[in-house]
Amino acid sequence: MRIIVSIKGVPKLETVKVDPETHTLRRESAELMLNPFDRSALEIAARLKEKYHAEVIAISMGPPNVIPLLREAYSICADRIILLSDRAFAGADTLATSRVLAQAIKKLAPFDLVLMGLKSADGETAQVPPETAALLGIPSITNVKDLFFEDKKIIALRETEYGLEELEAEPPIVASLYPKLDYFRPPSFKRLLEVKNRELEIWSAKDLELSIEKLGLSGSPTRVSGVFEKKFADKGEIWEGEPEELAKRLITLLKEKGFLKA
């Protein structure tokens, strides 16, 4: 059994700076962290690996600063880590990203399962998993809480507003995960030692036999037509002073508004 986990580096919230002129993220200066949903994907992959002795391959598209995150994936459970990196990939929207991921995944065939996060913490479109599945021509199941194999079929539990949905699919599929786990394993010390001396595989546009016009900015139909800061009509008030005095003022206000009994 082969499981491919597709992970993304997202800027750490504390280190993100917004350019005051253009209002865009200054990505270069931000430190990257693993997209939280992708940490879930790795944990699920690790559990499936234990259960079915699966091989786990982690891939990520991004500049070389995502390498530490791939190493992290190795130290958690991945047996092989591949960076998909090329200047031509820069500026990709979800479609151009999915093209690269789909092509890389194709090269890793045969595989049984592609695990992704439900959505990324920065882009937050949740489009990449289903788009990638569409490009691969295989089923996609989104918002998966848990999944397992039964009689060569994949059973996926999917959370909806109405309750849990149980879906059955023939592998291979792409699943985007939102598992709400209460435990994520830390890196293994042995794997941390191993990954230090491991050569990283890097695949470029050429390795993936992708034509440049379908990639990056030029291959991205999405255009950002404008970025604006949301203005709040209701301005908050800031009270300053001694805690006791402020508490009294707050109680008076709450009573006035009828939130507390007079």
Binding site: R185, P186, F189
Partner: protein, 384 residues
């Protein structure tokens, strides 16, 4: 830290990983575990998944094959976050050492890989109600019956009692011979006639589990005997010699945490128009705390390295490391509270927990009075 140690790449990675586990799996919960006196398996599972139960297990059995020094580094930094968690962790080594040091090939193959992977937790059971410091006074018996031993008796205050899958138990196979008639056994969770008593209520280390172990015609296969009959105290004492550095290392971690929390407070707390750290009575106390902590660390590290270098006689050395570091840590934690005034005394702040936790380190794995007896005995062998 004013004294810096140069660690190897592997050792630094180990400390980093422990700190990561501490930040993520322990720090946010430690005060709550203490308050509720509850054991949480998650940090233990994290340590297992991180391979860290394998530190002292030889590589051929799936462990990391590291030494007492690395064990101390791990225990020290775990204790920085919670000495209760580090007690659960270190007590498992107390149960693993007898297998590593005295197990036969079959026993090692059967148990060590699972211990290394953290799939099985260990305990070490020597103390009995009437036999604390006077460990030779144990009364638990192990009677040979054909291919079995039948154990009867009660062990008291056993860390990981009821949790551990593998319990190393010291019992008398030949009561007539006294301590020379003691032997060490491996008792597994689920063995007939073996059970754990109720969980003790403690002053500190409240996220660890301490219980009685009860043997009521507990029948185990004869191949669970460790080493030979009559070697029980040899096994127990050698194990404690190795593990005692770990108790010293626990003291380092707790004292380090106490120092950091209290100095940060003292530099922020304004009285008489200035931070209390500006008062010499306060800053000199911190100077004294740091000196004692660094002296303890130097001793614990040095003794650990002495053992790893292949020393044969190290009872006196490991007794010194344990006794000195834990006494200093007790003093440091007491001063940390004093330097924080009422804030140090309140249960919303962690220093009172350090103070309660650290107290036990002067008691378990042999009281500090007993350590001094050991040191004095070893000393008189050298200066005849």
């Amino acid at each position: 830290m004013l004294v810096k140690y140069s660690l190897t790449e592997e050792q630094s990675l180990l400390v980093e990983l422990i700190k990561r586990i501490g930040e993520e799996y322990i720090a946010p919960f430690a005060l709550e575990w203490d308050e509720k006196e509850s054991f949480d398996n998650r940090p233990i599972r994290a340590l297992a998944d991180a391979d860290l139960f394998g530190i002292i297990v030889p590589k051929e059995y799936g462990g990391l094959g590291m030494g007492v020094f690395e064990m101390c580094l791990a225990v020290e930094w775990l204790s920085y976050y919670c000495a209760g968690v580090s007690t659960t962790y270190a007590a498992s080594f107390l149960g693993a050492y007898p297998l590593i040091l005295f197990g036969n090939e079959k026993q090692k193959e059967k148990y060590l890989p699972d211990i290394a992977r953290g799939k099985k937790l260990c305990a070490f059971a020597l103390t009995e109600p009437q036999a604390g410091s006077d460990a030779f006074g144990i009364k638990t018996t192990a009677r040979k019956e054909g291919d079995y031993y039948v154990l009867n008796g009660v062990k008291q205050w056993i860390t990981n009692g009821g949790l551990a899958d593998i319990n190393i138990v010291i019992a008398l196979t030949d009561p007539a011979k006294g301590p020379r008639g003691a032997s060490a056994f491996i008792v597994e969770k689920g063995d007939p006639g073996f059970s754990a008593g109720k969980k003790e209520k403690k002053l500190g280390l409240r996220s660890s589990v301490t219980t009685d172990l009860i043997f009521n015609d507990c029948k185990i296969p004869a191949d669970r005997l460790l080493s030979r009959e009559g070697m029980g105290f040899m096994v127990a004492l050698k194990t404690l010699d190795y593990a005692r550095c770990g108790a010293g290392a626990q003291a380092l971690g707790v004292a380090q945490a106490a120092l950091e929390v209290s100095i940060k407070h003292a530099k922020k707390r304004i009285q008489f128009g200035q931070p209390v750290y500006n008062f010499q009575a306060v800053s000199h106390t911190f100077a004294e705390m740091t000196m004692r902590l660094e002296a303890s660390r130097a001793l614990v590290y040095q003794v650990a390295k002495f053992i790893d270098a292949g020393a044969k006689d190290f009872s006196g050395a490991s007794a010194m490391a344990k006794c000195f570091a834990t006494d200093q840590a007790m003093w440091i934690c007491e001063r940390a509270i004093q330097m924080m005034g009422g804030y140090g005394y309140m249960r919303d702040y962690p220093v009172q927990k350090f103070f309660r936790d650290v107290k036990c380190l002067q008691i378990y794995e042999g009281t500090n009075e007993i350590q001094k007896n050991v040191i004095a005995r070893e000393l008189s062998k050298v200066y005849k």
